[in-house]
Structures are given as structure tokens and as C-alpha cells.
Amino acid sequence: MITGLQAFFLVNALITLFAAVKVVSSRKLVHAALWLVLALMGVAATFAMLGSRFFSVIQVFVYIGAIATLIIVAVMLTRNSMEDVGPQVNRGWWLPLVVVVLLFVGLVVVLSGWGDFGLSTRTVGAEGENVMELGKALVDPNGFVLPFEIASALLLGAMVAAIYLATDRKEGKR
């Protein structure tokens, strides 16, 4: 028998996957970007179902708030790609499809061989993750301060690179 939570999971998963399919198949790129927002929203709901409220919120902030917005802006800036002439997928699109289906089947086969595949009891409690602990772990010299700092450097580098790449250097301007 399917419980309410399970039903919710299924509905949410279906919506998310449908939106994801639309993302990769929509002819109009702006529509694809909007479907992407819906798919990301579904993922945020999944995070919440997994007991991670914090990352659910962060998902909305970072992915929908920043990344999806960035993508939509980029779509608008590269405007003539919005006039969708011709097919929006490559000619040999069936080959990736075959590979991807194979990959999916392979993943499921491998996963189902795993002993804990049917595990349905969680170790996480109802209160969700401990954000304080996470924060401490991120800056703890014995914890994850190194990856954390590297990620900061990566973000800084990305920011500089993005500004540098996107600067409009017209002839004669400097």
C-alpha cells in the first residue's frame, strides 16, 4: 500500500522528470529554461523529503535564484538562438539516446545488486540536519576547512574569469 508520503514522492518525481524531459527537448530555449526552474523546484522538494531543509532552501536560492536566472539572461543575450529554426537536437540524436538508456539500465542493475537497496529506515531524525554542526565542520581545521577554502578560491576564480570572458573588448575602445 502506498502511503501519503510515497504518493507525494511519486507525483513530485513524475513532475520533475517530465520537466527535465522538457528541458532537453523544448524547441524554444526560454521555455527549456523555465522548465528547468520547475525541475529544480522538484529537486528542492526531494531534498526536503530527504530531511534536508537547509539544502532545500539553498537549492531554491542558488539554483533557482542565481543559476536559473543566469541561464535565462544568457539565453536572452544570445538572442538569435531564440529564433528556433531547424531541429534543436543534433542529427545523430539516437546514438546518445541509446547510450543514455544503456547507462540507466546499467545503473539500475548495479544498484539493485547492492545489499541495502531496499533500505527504508532512515538514520536522520525529524529535526533534519544540524546546520550548526555543518557550519562548524566547514571551518574546522580537522574537518573540511581545506575543501571549503578551495571552493572559495574556485568561486573567486570563476568570478574573475566570468568577468574577464564576458567583457566586451571592442576594437579601438582601449
Partner: protein, 729 residues
């Protein structure tokens, strides 16, 4: 039904309608507007249920509805940020008018965007519809055409309505701020709705950026508030004397203010931006570039009301440390000065405008100034009262002016005369052509100018004036009375120029009444514009006082922790408001009673250069262009770009580059050419590599995705092999 849950559900239908229209129904105009109106109707229904439940509750201010149902929203290190809803007397009355005006505006929009008319001959998305030709008995005939982006409009105003409902029912400043920004976005989208018009685009950007200036201060205030109190919940801050006292007694590091004063002023800056108070008022008149229902939405139902609502909501904080009688706190003083200045200043501009919507725009600014000034002198209930009545009659006036413009456009299409259908100089005599619009507009206009006894505007304005007078703030009283005089004057001018007298253009002669779907909302709003005042007749009012209980005062006044002195009703403000309202109206009618076609404004001669000054809105746009815009351009172009970026930073980088180049040259001449090239040479290593490269380059198609596919296939095959032969075995 569970009341807490119902309050949660109020904002939801418009949001769902927005999503549904955007995602699914944008092809079908009928479906889109049904969804939007249905959603607004549901919200309206829920709001009414909540409102009447709230009215029936005892001690609502102490125990607001909906506070029991809270959600852990943002996980923080210690616990979670909780969000919830609350309906106390203040939000209940706001909810009442928001629900009504929003629903009326939605219905009206159907007619305004010419639903059911044929598609235009040359209409393009992003431009107002130009009209279509239909064949009637053989010859072509111009009729209004349907808006090309009809569904999009309904999607956007639904989102707008969602923002406003959310803002009203929320119980904390953070959610309010989000709703606030949602509305900011919607106003941007809707003011720039006809985005192919450069003026609309500019107006949209201007509105967005100007309000952002205020929002930034508000965000600072919010951060300071959270830092000081550890919460943003209304009940925990504003209904909590300990917290308020703590904020009022601790000194902030700026300007010798207390924390309460500093935070109050910062939050008030948000209002200044959103409610278009001096000096950030410049965006609001330009916002007229949007379709008229949007103007009504921004000016009455949502945006600007939200700003005043914020100030009223935070009045306990702004007035913390004020004992109800003595000297005003610095924050209250700021409100009083800004409000009074805005009220008078905007009213003077409105006198010299010819665009029917622009007059209303400045009148909105002026009336908002009234409310802010009322708050500044501590007339809390009066401010809330005027907010409610103003929302009704200003929504009515905007929708009415839209109806007038619509009628004029009809005339323009009919006569092919090339005139601006919004210019009042071309109108006149519309009384007979558009009777419903005329009578409802008259009701709204009289309410705006405070026509005694009958209209809602009189009661709320009178209360503000007597609040200012009885509080002993004579200068505020005088300024507001002057503004009221001007208000009555320009209202009479507007009505006279538009509806009375003779038609001053061919188009005006052929104007026709709008459809019932547009006039019916006008009638409903006119009803409220008249009657909304009767719930707040002061007890001390000579003759009428006490006949009806002053329900509004009792209901909303409960919100205050500190009550001002019992208002001893003096006759001075009453007589003043009678004189200025009637005098202004009579004067306006008398000056403009017979303006002929092509004649200049009768005021132009006696006022001379002052008139030009007013007509150009005190040159504020030019002033900002010359100072703020120029300065920021200088900072970005000269300071940052030329000096800092190209001078200092590039200078250093170029130095490093030159050094690197020099080093490279030395290495090449000293090591590479004489040593490497001589001994290893071209033939042995380079030639072999080149050959190998030529062979392998054949599989390099340059197509990124093929590379990826190839890599993936290899990885898949490899992992399959490893899995089956090593892991399984």
C-alpha cells in the same frame, strides 16, 4: 474551516493562476482571464471570511488570528526562522480593501484590454493595440482591437496580487520584504508592459531602480532589527513593550539616534521608495506608461499602499519613546516633515498637468504624503483610515480615467483625428457621452477632495487634520490644509475639463461609454468611495457624532500600546476642512468652467514662470539627471574605469607583462635558438610528431559532443567489463 489554514491560503490562488497561465493557458485568452479572475475571486472570498471573523473577535490585537500555525522555514544554526501569518485589526482592514480593489481591477481589465474584439490589423506584442478594421455593410469601420499580450497581462497582475496578499497576511518583516520585492518585479514588468515603447521601457527601469534605493535602506534597517532583537516577527517586536523600550533606550552609533529611531528611519526609507515620497517620488508619474488597470493596481490596491502599510505597521517602533503627547521622536519628525512636504509639493504639480492620469498620479503622491504626515504626528488611526478610503476612491478614479481614455480612443478611431486621448485639453462634455463613468468619477473626485459629510475622503481627511491640530503641530496642519485646498482645486479642474462644458475635439464628440464589464467595477468602487467613511465618524463630531459608533477607531485603535490623549474635537480643523474642500472645488470649477478648444490653461498667465515650473515638476527629473546620474556615470567611467582600472591595475599588470616578455626574449635568444634547435633540430623530433599528429587528427571532428559520447562509451564499456569480470567474479 480552520481559520489559520484559511489565512495561509489567501495569497495562494493568484500564484497558482500565474503559474497556470504562464505554463499552460497562455494561448487561450478566455481561459487565462477566467483563471485570473477566478483566483482573485477565491482570494476575495477567503479574505471576506477572514475579515468578518476578525471583526467578531474580542481583543484581536492581543491575539491575532492565524498565529498558531507557523512553519519552520529557514534552518538557522540555533533553531529555525519561523514564518507564519497573522491577521490583526490593521491587516484585516487592509485585507478588506485589497481584496475588493484587486477583484474589481481584474474584472475591469477584461474590458480595458478589449476582450472579444477582433485582433488588430497591425498590432504587435509590446505595443498598445491600434484598432482593427471590420466590414460593416460593405465599408470598413475602425473598432478597438484586443491586446496582443492579453494572457501575459493577466498572468502578471495575478503575480502582483499574490505579492500584495502575501504582504498583508504575513507575520514577519522578512516575508514582507520578499512580497515587497515580488511587487517591485511585477511593477517593473507591468509598467514596461508595452515594452516596444521606449518611454515605457525607461519608466519601468526608473521605477525599479528608484524603489531599489529605498529598499536598500530598508534591508539595512531589517538587518539592524534582527541583530538587535533576534527576531523579525511583528508580535515579538511591535507588541512587546520590553523590546520596544530596549530599542528606544539604547543609543545607535549614528547621529545620536536611538536604535528604535535609526531602524524606524531606515525602514521608513523603504516606504519613501515604494510609496513615492519626496525625494524618491520621481518614478510614480512615469509609471503611467503602463496600462491603466496597472496604474490602478500600483496606485491604489497594492504598491503604494504596501509602503504606507509598512510605516503604519512599524509605527510602534517609529514612535517608541513617545508618550502620546510631548515632543515627537526623531523618526516621527522625519515622517511628519517628509509627508507634509510631499503632500503640498505633489499637489502643486498636479495643478499644472494636462494628462488625465498624470494628475491622478501626483494626487496619489500627495495623498500618500498625507498619510505619512498623519503617522508622523501620531494620528495612527487616521492614517490607516485614510489609507483605506484612499485605496477605494483612487482605484475608482484610475479605472474611471481608463474608461475615459477608452471612450476617447473610441472617438479617435472613429474620427481618425490624431490627438492624445489622455490629454484633458482635448476632452470636455463627456458627461453626456459617458454617464456612468461621469457619475462614478464624480463620486471618486468628491471623495478625493473631501466633499463634506457624504464622501469617505472627508471623514478620513478631517481626522488627519484634527489629529495634526489637536496634537499641537500647527505647521503640519497648515501645510496639509493648503494641500487639501489644492487637491480640491485640481480635482474640480479635472472634472470640469473632462466632463463638463463643451467637447473640445471631434474625438470627444464621438466618445462612447465603455462596456458594462468596465463600468460595473466603477459602480462597486463608487459605493465604497462614498460609504467607507461612515464607519469612522468621530464621536465628538458636532451633530452626527455618536449616531453611528466610531467602529474604525475602536477596531484599529486597539493596535496601539500607548494611546494618545483623547482627542478633544476642536471646531478649527472641521471648519478648515469644510472651507478648503468646498472652496477648492468651487474655485476649480469657476476657473475652468468654459475653456475653449485650443485655449491655454487659464492659470498660465497669472502664475507665469511658476506655472512652467510646476508643469515641469520642479525640474526634478532634470536635477537627478544632472547630479545622481551624472555622478554615477562619472564614477564608473572616469574614476573606476579610467583611473583605477586602466591606470593603477592595468599599469601594474602591464609592468608584469613587460617583465615576462623581456625574460622570454632572453631565454629564446640565449637558450632556445642556440641550444635546443641546434641539437634536436627539425627533422628528428618535430617531424615525427607532425606525422603522428596528421594521422591521429582524422578522428578529431571538432564536435564537442562526439568527444563526450566517445568518452562516455569507453567509460561505460570499461566499467561494464570491470563490473562483470572483477566485481561479480
Amino acid at each position: 474551516m480552520n481559520m489559520d489554514l484559511l489565512i495561509w491560503l489567501i495569497p495562494l490562488p493568484p500564484l497558482l493562476a500565474f503559474a497556470a497561465i504562464v505554463l499552460f493557458t497562455n494561448r487561450s485568452k478566455a481561459l487565462s482571464h477566467s483563471l485570473a479572475i477566478g483566483a482573485a475571486g477565491l482570494s476575495w472570498l477567503a479574505s471576506m471570511v477572514v475579515f468578518f471573523t476578525a471583526v467578531g473577535r474580542e481583543e484581536l490585537a492581543k491575539h491575532p488570528l492565524g498565529v498558531d500555525l507557523k512553519v519552520n522555514w529557514l534552518p538557522l544554526g540555533d533553531g529555525a526562522f519561523k514564518i507564519g501569518v497573522q491577521v490583526d485589526p490593521l491587516s484585516a482592514v487592509i485585507l478588506f480593501f485589497v481584496a475588493w480593489t484587486v477583484l474589481m481591477i481584474f474584472v475591469y481589465s477584461v474590458g480595458y484590454h478589449n476582450f472579444g474584439q477582433p485582433a488588430g490589423d497591425h498590432d504587435k506584442p509590446g505595443l498598445p493595440p491600434h484598432g482593427a478594421t471590420v466590414k460593416v455593410k460593405g465599408h470598413g469601420h475602425q473598432v478597438p482591437s484586443v491586446e496582443p499580450m492579453y494572457s501575459r497581462f493577466f498572468a502578471m497582475i495575478s503575480l502582483f496580487a499574490f505579492g500584495m496578499f502575501l504582504l498583508v497576511v504575513t507575520d514577519n518583516l522578512l516575508t514582507l520584504y520578499m512580497a515587497w520585492e515580488i511587487m517591485g518585479l511585477c511593477s517593473y514588468l507591468l509598467i514596461g508592459f508595452w515594452y516596444a515603447k521606449p518611454s515605457a521601457r525607461d519608466a519601468a527601469v526608473k521605477a525599479f531602480l528608484t524603489t531599489r534605493v529605498g529598499d536598500m535602506f530598508m534591508l539595512l534597517g531589517m538587518a539592524a532589527l534582527y541583530k538587535m532583537t533576534g527576531t523579525l516577527n511583528y508580535q515579538e517586536i511591535l507588541a512587546n513593550p520590553t523590546v520596544l523600550e530596549m530599542l528606544a533606550s539604547q543609543a545607535a552609533p549614528v547621529l545620536g539616534l536611538s536604535w528604535a529611531g535609526l531602524i524606524g528611519i531606515l525602514i521608513f526609507m523603504g516606504t519613501v521608495g515604494k510609496s513615492a515620497q519626496f525625494p524618491l517620488h520621481v518614478w510614480l508619474p512615469d509609471a503611467m506608461e503602463g496600462p491603466t488597470p496597472v496604474s490602478a493596481m500600483i496606485h491604489a490596491a497594492t504598491m503604494v499602499s504596501a509602503g504606507v502599510y509598512l510605516s503604519i505597521r512599524f509605527f510602534p517602533l517609529i514612535s517608541a519613546g513617545w508618550d502620546g503627547g510631548g515632543a515627537l521622536t526623531p523618526a516621527m519628525m522625519t515622517l511628519a516633515v517628509v509627508g507634509a512636504v510631499t503632500a503640498l509639493f505633489a499637489a502643486t504639480i498636479a495643478v499644472a498637468q494636462n494628462d488625465i492620469k498624470r494628475v491622478l498620479a501626483y494626487s496619489t503622491i500627495s495623498q500618500l504624503g498625507y498619510m505619512i504626515a498623519a503617522l508622523g504626528v501620531g494620528a495612527y488611526v487616521a492614517a490607516a483610515f485614510h489609507l483605506v478610503t484612499h485605496a477605494f476612491f483612487k482605484a475608482l478614479l484610475f479605472l474611471g480615467s481608463g474608461s475615459v481614455i477608452h471612450g476617447m480612443e473610441h472617438g479617435v478611431l472613429h474620427t481618425h483625428q490624431h490627438i492624445d486621448p489622455q490629454d484633458m485639453q482635448h476632452m470636455g462634455g463627456l458627461r453626456k457621452k459617458m454617464p456612468v463613468t461621469f457619475w462614478t468619477f464624480l463620486a471618486g473626485g468628491l471623495a478625493l477632495s473631501g466633499f463634506p459629510l457624504v464622501t469617505a475622503g472627508f471623514w478620513s481627511k478631517d481626522e488627519i487634520l484634527s489629529g495634526a491640530f489637536n496634537g499641537g503641530h500647527v505647521w503640519v496642519f497648515v501645510i496639509l490644509a493648503l494641500a487639501a485646498l489644492l487637491t480640491a482645486f485640481y480635482t474640480a479642474r479635472q472634472i470640469t475639463l473632462t466632463f463638463l462644458g463643451q467637447a473640445r475635439s471631434e474625438a470627444a464628440e464621438h466618445a462612447s461609454e465603455s462596456r458594462a464589464v468596465m463600468t460595473a467595477p466603477l459602480v462597486v468602487l463608487a459605493f465604497f468611495a462614498i460609504t467607507a467613511g461612515w464607519v469612522g465618524i468621530p464621536k465628538a463630531f458636532p451633530g452626527l457624532g455618536g449616531l453611528v459608533p466610531n467602529w474604525f477607531e475602536e477596531f484599529v485603535g486597539e493596535m496601539l500600546l500607548v494611546h494618545g490623549e483623547a482627542a478633544h474635537h476642536s471646531l478649527v480643523p472641521l471648519i478648515t476642512s469644510l472651507v478648503v474642500a468646498l472652496g477648492g472645488l468651487a474655485l476649480g470649477w469657476w476657473v475652468y468652467r468654459d475653456v475653449r478648444a485650443g485655449q491655454k490653461d487659464p492659470l498660465q498667465k497669472p502664475l507665469g514662470p511658476v506655472y512652467t515650473l510646476l508643469q515641469n515638476k520642479y525640474y526634478f527629473d532634470e536635477l537627478y539627471g544632472a547630479t545622481v546620474v551624472r555622478f554615477s556615470r562619472w564614477v564608473s567611467e572616469v574614476f573606476t574605469d579610467r583611473w583605477l582600472d586602466r591606470g593603477v591595475i592595468d599599469g601594474i599588470l602591464h609592468g608584469i607583462a613587460a617583465a615576462g616578455l623581456w625574460l622570454g626574449g632572453v631565454l629564446r635568444n640565449g637558450f632556445d635558438l642556440p641550444v635546443i634547435n641546434r641539437f634536436l633540430g627539425d627533422t628528428v623530433v618535430a617531424g615525427g610528431t607532425r606525422k603522428l599528429g596528421a594521422e591521429t587528427s582524422k578522428i578529431q571532428t571538432g564536435r564537442l559532443q562526439q568527444y563526450m559520447l566517445m568518452g562516455l562509451a569507453v567509460v561505460l564499456a570499461a566499467s561494464a567489463i570491470i563490473y562483470f569480470f572483477f566485481v561479480m567474479a
